[in-house]
């Protein structure tokens, strides 16, 4: 009796050790995969930083941020990044003018007005729109929107900021609608009931109760959308042109930071030349801009989770 009990104990201990070893392996494998993405990000930052520092050893940082001409590919080189930033912000601003109001209205409809059935059909459809490859949007801008704009304003150039803006706006709209709808749906039903019980109409419930309560979530969606617009590449590379220009006229051809990077990486610029290194400096700036936006958006999302607690 005593002996058999002892044997059982030994078997039990071995099984436990096996179990621990297996758990350990699983843990290590999972850790490895999560580290891969962290290291990828760190690697990207390291390369960007290294090349950016090399770039700024040859070009003054003051010139980079204050000069108003960007001609690194020409014989007389000028390294003022402002025209590229201008192009990026011009297109992004135009896209936001479409995506934010329409996306918010769509979210309000989906969250507060649509029947369950309508929402179940419409929301996935909206999300399909987000899955269309951006190259398709780019050609849509170039071959459909631009000719349309030329009919309205004859001075519209073949490549222009406006047509890229419009199409980008519709591309980002589902993102805004979907995230804003999530934020509004997360507002507890009890708050809506409280408002209805005080004699609020559906519009008053939406505007005075749901929207304010979901505000930080909606702002997070907006900022994420801006970040997406700034980083969007394919549409602007195809439809907005390759002329870095300090202009606010959306009918003109411009160049965005992303489109410039594409232009240089696909062209025959020698790898060691200063012209080639510009793309890392521009990339670093772009990365900083979108990272800042994402951090703000993250911070807002965290804040809004705490609101009802």
């Amino acid at each position: 009796m005593q002996e058999s009990k002892l044997v059982t104990d030994v078997v039990f201990l071995r099984a436990r050790a096996d179990h621990d070893r297996r758990e350990g392996i699983i843990r290590a494998v999972l850790l490895l995969f999560s580290i891969v993405s962290v290291f990828t990000t760190l690697g990207i930052i390291a390369v960007l930083l290294q090349e950016t520092i090399l770039f700024f050893q040859e070009v003054s940082i003051v010139e980079f941020f204050t000069d108003t001409v960007w001609t690194p590919l020409f014989a007389s080189k000028k390294f003022g990044v402002l025209p590229l930033v201008n192009g990026t912000l011009l297109v992004a601003a135009g896209a936001m003018l479409i995506a934010l109001p329409l996306g918010l209205l769509a979210a309000i409809y989906l969250s507060e007005y649509a029947s369950d059935r309508a929402r179940k059909i419409l929301k996935p459809m909206l999300e399909i729109l987000a899955g269309v490859p951006t190259v398709v949007y780019g050609y849509f801008a170039l071959t459909f929107i631009t000719p349309l704009l030329q009919k309205i304003w004859s001075e519209t150039q073949a490549f222009n900021a406006l047509s890229a803006s419009i199409v980008m706006g519709f591309m980002i709209l589902p993102l805004v609608a979907s995230l804003s709808e999530d934020a509004m749906s997360a507002v507890p039903q009890s708050l809506r009931q409280a408002a209805y019980a005080l004699g609020a109409t559906r519009l008053e419930v939406t505007l005075r109760t749901v929207l304010p309560a979901a505000l930080s979530g909606i702002s997070a969606a907006f900022i994420l959308a801006v970040s997406r617009a700034i980083g969007e590449t394919m549409i602007v590379a195809i439809a907005a042109g390759q002329q870095p220009k300090l202009t606010l006229n959306p009918l003109q051809s411009i160049e965005t930071m992303t489109a410039y990077i594409v232009q240089v990486s696909l062209g025959d610029t020698p790898q060691q030349s200063i012209a080639y290194k510009t793309i890392f400096a521009v990339g670093m700036l772009l990365f900083t801009m979108t990272l800042t936006m994402n951090l703000i958006s993250n911070w807002l999302t965290r804040r809004y989770r705490e609101v009802y607690e």
Binding site: Q193, A194, Y196, A197, L198, P212, V307
Partner: protein, 260 residues
Amino acid sequence: MLEQHEIALSVKNLNVYYGGFHALDNISLEIPARQITAIIGPSGCGKSTFLRCFNRMNDLVPTARVEGTALFYGQNIYDPKINPVEVRRHIGMVFQKPNPFPKSIYENVAYGARINGYKGDMDELVERSLRAAALWDEVKDNLKKSALALSGGQQQRLCIARAIAVEPQVILMDEPASALDPIATLKIEELMQELKKFYTIVIVTHNMQQAARVSDYTAMMMLSKEGSRAGTVIEFGPTSQIFTKPKDKRTEDYVTGRFG
């Protein structure tokens, strides 16, 4: 027995359906003005559904269908010509779980008045409503603070103040103290005695002692028949009678704790 009181609410042959589900079975009842009427009964017998008929909150459930009449001082609130929003401005509601808006204390109380286009002095209305809800002394120096920073009991009194600020005739209370501790519960019960001087109160409660303590009239609800899931009012009368000399055997079993 109700002759000495004016009738605030009166339902006749009231039936409620959720889709194909029959929730309330043929209820007829008269609720006296400026009295406290308690609705008691076991879980799932439709007490909250019944309460929500009085301010048309069931309209917010897409599949809900209400048949019969519910008169509010003689006007049928289910008349197709009546705007449900208007009904809710006269018949306020306090919910089971305190649900203040994530806004300041002041803005919570002012909410209803603002959407109703109140023209008077808002500061005065907020103070008057908070005083009426016995909350003023505790919050008067912190009106700009978030309502969510208040304790559960304070939040519930804020919700009462918010309902009062719309100046309704009736206040419906759906288990208003079930999420509160005994001291906060006592405060709400004392407040109800003050409020009944001006308002008709209908309260749903699980707590029979509470019904016995606070109410003047009691409606006993139960599933209408064996095997059915539709609730109905099986007995209605002065609270003292319901708790001491109930006419229905089922009421007696329930209030004496033999079942439910």
